[in-house]
Subunit: 484 residues, 2 copies
Amino acid sequence: MDEMEANQFREFGKEMIDYVADYLENIRERPVVPTVEPGYLRQLIPSEAPNEPEKWQDVMADIERVIMPGITHWHSPKFHAYFAAANSYPAIVADILSGGIACVGFSWIASPACTELEVVTMDWLGKMLDLPKEFLACSGGKGGGIIQGTASEATLVALLGAKARAIHFAKKEHPDWKDSDIISKLIGYTSCQSHSSVERAGLLGGVKLRSLDTDNESRLRGDTLEKAIEKDREAGLIPFYAVATLGTTASCSFDNLEEIGPVCNKNNVWLHIDAAYAGAAFVCPEYRYLMKGIERADSFDFNPHKWMLVNFDCSAMWLKDPSWLVNAFNVDPLYLKHDQQGNAPDYRHWQIPLGRRFRSLKLWFVLRLYGVEKIQEYIRKHIGLAHYFESLVKADDRFEVTQEVVMGLVCFRLKGSNDISKYLLKRLNKRGLIHLVPSEVRGTYFLRMAVCSRLTEKEDMDVTWKEITEAAEEVLAGKYMNGN
Amino acid sequence: MDEMEANQFREFGKEMIDYVADYLENIRERPVVPTVEPGYLRQLIPSEAPNEPEKWQDVMADIERVIMPGITHWHSPKFHAYFAAANSYPAIVADILSGGIACVGFSWIASPACTELEVVTMDWLGKMLDLPKEFLACSGGKGGGIIQGTASEATLVALLGAKARAIHFAKKEHPDWKDSDIISKLIGYTSCQSHSSVERAGLLGGVKLRSLDTDNESRLRGDTLEKAIEKDREAGLIPFYAVATLGTTASCSFDNLEEIGPVCNKNNVWLHIDAAYAGAAFVCPEYRYLMKGIERADSFDFNPHKWMLVNFDCSAMWLKDPSWLVNAFNVDPLYLKHDQQGNAPDYRHWQIPLGRRFRSLKLWFVLRLYGVEKIQEYIRKHIGLAHYFESLVKADDRFEVTQEVVMGLVCFRLKGSNDISKYLLKRLNKRGLIHLVPSEVRGTYFLRMAVCSRLTEKEDMDVTWKEITEAAEEVLAGKYMNGN
């Protein structure tokens, strides 16, 4: 075997470290969105894998030739689409270690450190957010945290736990009911503003979810939920699950937890909180008013891999009572049993996949190498940049801000018809200097400017705003001249 | 912000590269399984995250102090538990690049290279296994490959696709049936030897799966499946899904695809093939007889992150017709739409999570830096080592090999009662030099010796066998002396 030897790895790995550092240091200079057409890449590489080993230097050279022309640069300060994806040096280094150890942490014995570091760092993180102690493993109760791959998995996991709980209680009351009868009666709730992955969790989990209207500020309110639950109960359905969103994707609105929580508790409805993006802000005490009422929830999830500097995949989920999941989906063959079951969580029972990487290393590295205060500064800086951008928009009479700016997202549009803002986005995409995606709430189409990059500074906001106003001038001029 | 700067990253990252190289070069010297007790780690680190940034050198120093005492060293040649987990230098370097780019590839436009490299490398890999062209994207049909996180997700994804297809056809025939009526009639099939994650997929997907008996060599046979389907049809159920395993976890047996496939096709049952471990061997033509009949399957999955040198998470799945998934679980909000939908796969519709890392980079790096022939050599070497170990067992009258050795797994036991082999495993665990897990098939308890490490050589097999015979002597002596 003349496979890659350790010495070659030392060279190649270090070259890649330098490449990544150079890439991120100079990312502003790259066009943020590629101009390639679908199928571009197939033409650039052979149609089959090579028979003989290639040189690592040739692979290295192909990064600029093959990969980079097709990259949307999420960490460019000119990238304002979706929400931020995290990218930090400590997390990248931690993942090297995770790759080197390469354990598969499905049970405690499969690598005790892999489970235990996750238990403890999830406690660290929970304390940073001032979560109720029922969510923390260190409180000695049933609760605890787990790193899921994505918020969409957390929503599905919570739904499956809620489903198991509801079936259990329905059977207790009606021992003659079959599972399928019960499942057909189950009904969950979310707002029309929740993420598409919530609706998808309902489809995947095979249960009905009702999409509820929000108030004028895109917030789900308690009375809306209560009325829906009452109506469904009267129709013979079994309300079992509700997802509240803190920081919606469309416009970063916050459901009213203080109202929703008691309604859920009273009705034995599992309340899951999806704070995928905005949850990171709760490290700052001044934003915790937005999560008031969280003590009523059964599960809570946010993504450090969005706005807290831990590279994907790191979705932090806490459950008050994971036993609903563990018991419902526990299959325990001999080859996975070990002597310490019961003394430490076997995270395989808390998640959809069996296997799992050593993901807590990157959370640990980031928390230690930034520290709580720097993470708070980071959040505040992004929110400050969003407010600065907001002030630029508001100072221009041709534009309007469509939603209160609370986090790092500014929703704005050209005054007038939706079409004119749609055309503005088209122009911006055509010009290609910055990247935005649109959204629509209650019939109003708008553009979303998310502060995404760790590297973003005030000057970048100026560049973005200048680009938007230039494109707007083109659009407005075009419109007046030829109706386009 | 005095967060970690690029220059510090260059130092820290390179130090970590050296650490990982040193770790793997010297892994033989570490005790393979830790002796820590549950809760060990919490005592070694503070109970809260630090407020101020720590030095990276301090974090580095904590790897040996905090992490390593709790690591089960999956890449030690003394590790023979479960199945292999992959770990290679090219894959680790590719993951650095993936972390540096840190795009979230849920749609084509979110980073065209992320989608397209996956399409093409999955074609490469499919060709290496000589998969039927209906599975390959380059054939121009509906089929194609995707990298899932784990084989358990692939099993669930296939089940959900099968469920959607079955509901579609049942509704066509019986427009008055409700979904819940149909779902309660659905019945899937797998063998009693399939992986626990198959049973779990049924629980998660909310459908019944029937566990079928195997023949004496732990293989599911066509007539067993056919009879079960007929019986279920007569009882008014709707057979919809079957999972065949190529290389079971318990004993590495292979279901008879040539018999099972036609039964599934005739009955409109979605056939999913779980070749999580053994699938890698099909890069060698001489093992493809074990996958004969694969052209009848609807989906096929194996884990390059087990036995093909690509670090976790890389589970390679091919589907003949992904549209069953895409259409059933497609939720498409405005902020995820883009102009090129339809011209390239949006992999978010093919999987459970929404977000996804740039995982194809590590597959690409491994295939190029090893090349097909070296990967074949690697597989053959592991199988050769297993046969060498088999010969050692067979030469010792006290032992027996319980299952034909086909891949890198040897199932063996001390002749006599199950208890004596259980006690042997306990002794081995207590001695701590090597790590094995047990299994049980048709009432016979045995030990599994899996060749796991990339570094394993013939001498390591000798060490393992010497350790087993020494422990066996203790056990046998003890048994004769005091009945323990």
